[in-house]
């Protein structure tokens, strides 16, 4: 019997099935699948189950009131996704952020990148049937959450990076604990490498699965780990340094495989660089104030700004339009998961059902972030 590989709506061999939104492996997200037996012929993402109208909501609140709700779409990566909003408002107002505030923005962004990537490889481990990875990563992630909580005062949503700098200074004596965490985590990453990424079982499962070429990655607008795993060295932290990223010595890793394994391995390579940045930031952080006093309702001159940063999942962008009133006229949130969603139907075709979770999770897709 031959397998039908082309989608034909009239064929009685093709069965349409939903993957999600209740499926525990899909998040709050549905993928419509058209199957021939256990062979995937075509797929179509169906987002929107957790659309919260963040953009409309922003138009009803002033520039400071917008801070807490704009970080809600990705609580794993809350500092990174708030950062471009703060950059955009700072740019509109012409704020010069104090150096200590800039360094604290970098520290929190990088700690959040690690927290987010740990979750990513934990879930990737879970869906490859590697239970050790999810238990280890979820446990180890907590040390980073503890560190972030010491600075930001909460475990996940810090509302820490605000227009004008950061909300508060870090407590005294944190540097030693942070450097200890960095040293411990570097050894720990070697263990992840051995037990998970170089594990023959994982390699068999993930290598050469869901290959995305660099041309397709660029054409489809992929960002972040997905783009770099396909061999494109693109990272906003290097391309367009913001918040004093230019002061730090770090590299942008990239891989040429473009497969699910490369996309997951990118997370480990990036965490190594994040540890490098955090260590330098804690050692070299200058003294001084951490924020400008903007008041509860700052006056923002009319204008428009397109600000972008590198969040854990990729390029995060904000298009903020001000008409000079206390509230933004328009806030457009460009989230990396939404940008990477276009890759999903490209990869989820002509594969077996068993590969769906592997490919889907390797994109580090976060439904809340895409829906906003």
């Amino acid at each position: 019997m031959t397998i039908q590989t082309e989608y034909d709506p009239d064929s009685d061999r093709i069965m349409a099935v939903s993957f999600g939104p209740q499926h525990p492996g899909a998040g709050h997200f549905r993928i419509r699948l058209w199957l021939d037996g256990d062979y995937l012929v075509k797929s179509e993402p169906d987002p929107g189950y957790i659309h919260r109208g963040e953009e409309k909501m922003s138009e009803y609140r002033n520039y400071i009131q917008n801070v807490p709700h704009l970080e809600r779409p990705v609580i794993l990566d809350s500092s990174n996704i708030l950062c471009p909003y703060a950059l955009a408002v700072d740019e509109l107002m012409g704020n010069k952020i104090p150096d200590r505030g800039q360094y604290l923005r970098v520290i929190m962004s990088e700690i959040n990148r690690i927290i987010s990537h740990m979750y990513f490889i934990a879930i990737e481990g879970l869906f490859t049937g590697h239970t050790t990875m999810i238990t280890w990563c979820m446990g180890d992630r907590d040390f980073w959450i503890d560190l972030a909580a010491r600075i930001g005062g909460a475990r996940v949503t810090f509302a820490y990076i605000i227009p004008g700098g950061v909300r508060n200074d870090m407590p005294e004596g944190l540097t030693e604990k942070a450097l200890q965490t960095c040293a411990w985590f570097e050894k720990r990453m070697d263990e992840y490498d051995k037990i998970f990424f170089k594990n023959p079982m994982v390699l068999t499962r993930m290598e050469k699965v869901g290959i995305l070429s660099s041309e397709d990655a660029i054409r489809l607008g992929a960002v972040g780990t997905v783009l770099r795993a396909s061999g494109v060295k693109s990272d906003v932290r290097k391309d367009e340094p913001y918040s004093r990223y230019g002061d730090f010595d770090f590299e942008i890793p990239s891989l040429s495989g473009g497969d699910a394994w490369s996309r997951a391995y990118m997370a480990l390579l990036e965490m190594r660089q994040s540890v490098k940045i955090i260590r330098q930031a804690f050692k070299n952080i200058p003294p001084g104030p951490v924020r400008l006093k903007l008041g509860p309702q700052p006056r923002v001159p009319a204008g428009e700004v397109y600000a972008r940063t590198e969040a854990a999942r990729g390029e995060m962008s904000y298009h903020v339009v001000s008409d000079g009133s206390p509230r933004p006229y328009r806030v457009k949130i460009g989230s990396p998961s939404f940008k990477n969603m276009r890759v999903l139907p490209h990869l989820l075709r002509n594969v077996h059902i068993a590969d769906i979770p592997i490919i889907y999770w390797s994109l580090n897709y976060w439904p809340l972030e895409a829906d906003r």
């Binding site: 607008g221 397109y306 972008r308 298009h319 460009g334």
Partner: protein, 132 residues
């Protein structure tokens, strides 16, 4: 807009040709976002395509904002999915949130909004959120 951001506003009849020129001659091949703004006082909707370059050396920090303004009462614009495939879902979003009809984008259903949404496009300025 700041340095390294270039905003070009073109008539919607020529946006396809300009987009092809931006992609092929300037090598701005990496679509980043599509934003739409409802300028209710001017009776216009502005659509902006933000495009970066992943391959052109030295231009990684540059973003071109290709903009067009269309009448609010008849918001029809040509789709650019054949220029940058990556803008497809961004256009779908602008289509339902601002009520823009992208000619050439085959998808006409609801993407982020509920399937049974029968109110006006919510990012239009005259749409008032419930409870406001």
């Amino acid at each position: 807009m700041r340095e390294k951001r270039l905003k070009v506003t073109v008539p919607s009849e020529t946006i396809k040709e300009v987009a092809l020129m931006v992609r092929d001659e300037l090598a701005f091949d990496h679509p980043s976002a599509v934003s739409g703004t409802d300028w209710i006082a001017k009776d216009e909707i502005e659509i902006i395509y933000f495009v970066g370059s992943a391959t052109k050396a030295g231009f990684q920090d540059f973003v071109i904002a290709l903009a067009e303004r269309i009448p609010r009462r008849d918001p029809v614009a040509p789709s650019l999915i054949y220029v940058w495939a990556g803008v497809e879902y961004h256009e779908r979003e602008s289509q339902e949130m601002l009520g823009i009809n992208f000619e050439g984008n085959p998808y006409k259903g609801h993407f982020l909004l509920p399937e049974d949404w029968n109110d006006m496009p919510p990012l239009r300025k005259d749409y008032i959120s419930p409870g406001r």
